[in-house]
């Protein structure tokens, strides 16, 4: 079967966007992780100096929520969320293709609903702020739900071509992840 040059070009472009998004999500997620560590360590230091930081647990918890959703979008680019692919991969090809399409609709549909609800809620929070820092609006901290949902959907769509190819070839993501971990461990 011949693949048209336009098709190849589209695939290359999609791959470039995927890498670009991956890099951004990596930077954001690692920054959040480092911020979280710094906040917790500072809190311990300040407490020993007799000056407890009243905002630390509330802010650190919000950072964790942000890490959850930005990190989730990053994980989905590699289809890294826990699943049970055993039965799916043993289905005959046409059924597997149908199951793949339904599963994609479920994932995207779920985050469309949650993203919409999260977006709607931002308007409801109005002037409300964090309890310990009254200059940080709740609409800012909670923005991670609609933004995270949108990023999840984009990452899911960008990873469809690769996931489809692997699903049709019967490649197990978990097996692939294990092989990669072993390869990295033997290199280091």
């Amino acid at each position: 079967m011949l693949i048209s040059p336009t098709c190849v070009q589209r695939y290359i472009m999609l791959d470039a966007i995927k890498r670009w998004l991956e890099r951004i999500l990596e930077v954001v997620s690692i920054s959040l992780l480092v911020t979280m560590a710094v906040i917790v360590v500072l809190a311990v230091v300040f407490r020993f100096m007799g000056k407890s930081l009243i905002w630390y647990d509330e802010v650190a918890s919000v950072v964790l929520a942000w890490l959850t959703y930005y990190g989730s979008a990053l994980a989905v680019l590699h289809r890294g969320h826990l699943g049970f692919p055993g039965l799916f991969l043993s289905l005959p090809k046409p059924l597997r293709a149908a199951a793949f399409i339904v599963a994609e609709f479920v994932v995207i549909g779920f985050f469309l609903v949650i993203g919409y609800a999260g977006w709607y809620l931002l308007g409801i929070f109005g002037e409300e702020t964090l309890v310990s820092l009254n200059w940080v609006p709740l609409s800012f901290t909670q923005s991670v739900i609609p933004v995270g949902a949108a990023l999840f959907i984009i990452a899911e769509i960008l990873s469809i071509p690769d996931a489809w190819r692997k699903a049709m070839a019967g490649i197990d993501y978990e097996k692939e992840m294990i092989d990669q971990a072993i390869e990295e461990a033997s290199q280091s």
Partner: protein, 427 residues
Amino acid sequence: MSAILLILGLFILVMINVPIAIALGAVALVGMVLSKGTDSIYNAALTMFDAATSFPLLAIPLFILAGALMNTTSISRRLISLTSALIGFVRGGLAMVNVGVSMFFAEISGSAVADVAAIGSVLIPAMKNRNYSPELSAAVTSSSASIAIIIPPSIAMILYGALSDTSIVQLFVAGIIPGVVGGFSMMGLCYWYAVRYDLPREEAFSLRRLWVAFKEAGWALTLPVIILGGIFGGVVTATEGAGLAVVAALFIGGVIYREINWQHLRKAMVEGVTQTAVVMLLVATSAVLGLYLTEIQVPQNFAKWVIGFTSNKLMVLALLNVMLFVVGMFLHGAAAIILIVPIVMPLVQQIGINPVQFGLIMTLNIAIGQQTPPVASVLVTSCSIAKTDIWETTKVNIPFIGVLVLVLLLVTYFPPVSLTLVNLFYG
């Protein structure tokens, strides 16, 4: 009726390879919309945010970051040298070294697969070179990695503690005796195999070699002592202890050993945030499911149903163990804890089971689940390194799984094993 439809829906979605986290959220969302109308989607979105802001769970990414920092140094090599100098002179010493290193090391990065890969890629080839069968090499590596799940700091325990509102510090303390009993029993089993198959000793014991190895690995050993000492002594919380672990790991890796490889660290951090996010998304969507389950009274009805069948504590514990074992066979550890804890906790409380003891029962079942196919990522990783068949390895692994089951039975039916230290320090 709603509960049956929910389980059916969940089953179908997981079978067509929808990620478990999204399958949990999706069935809950549909259930809530059908029973309470479309406004419940706002409640679901709020819950997904709130559940992800759990303060105790901050310990997970921080311990993972500390582990990632330590992993980029040559900590595994140093620990292997030290344990080898300590017990390598015994017959079958290399297998025992494997158990000893795993007890310290496994689960350190939050990804059991990455840790088993790190230890196994060094020790499995070494064991094969020393005439250990590939199946035995894989089985020892795999099972000893799983006993480490109950030795603090344990990601599984942090998850259980946060979800069941149980003290994470007390869970850590409770894991010490069963963890040590399990580890030493596995070493005993290694000795039995060594005598039976005439496996070799490593180098003769030398105090000089032990001292050199100790000096090399000493700083790495101070890390758990400082952190766990701080946590157990009540100086810092588990989350803060995890924060201090990051600082200590930076200091040891960057200043003392001068071995932090920033390229490796970036990779390890990406892996770490991904692992955290995968677990946390499960926590978030399962909270939505928890809302719906409470609404249709599943945990309460489950408790009533079991108590109607038997209110004998020992029988209930046996039933729970069977249920956790089956779930552990088919689900990954984190998913199993997140799914099961909210459903069984009312029953655990009503029947008067200590939540700390139940936490150990839960994590030990997860450990056994990591060894029992079809879903057994730790076993699969070991087998991939040793290039052995999973079922052939499982045959050799059965006595090691037996040790895990024995520790589980001890913890289940002889509570002092897990609770003595807890009562001593916090009673």
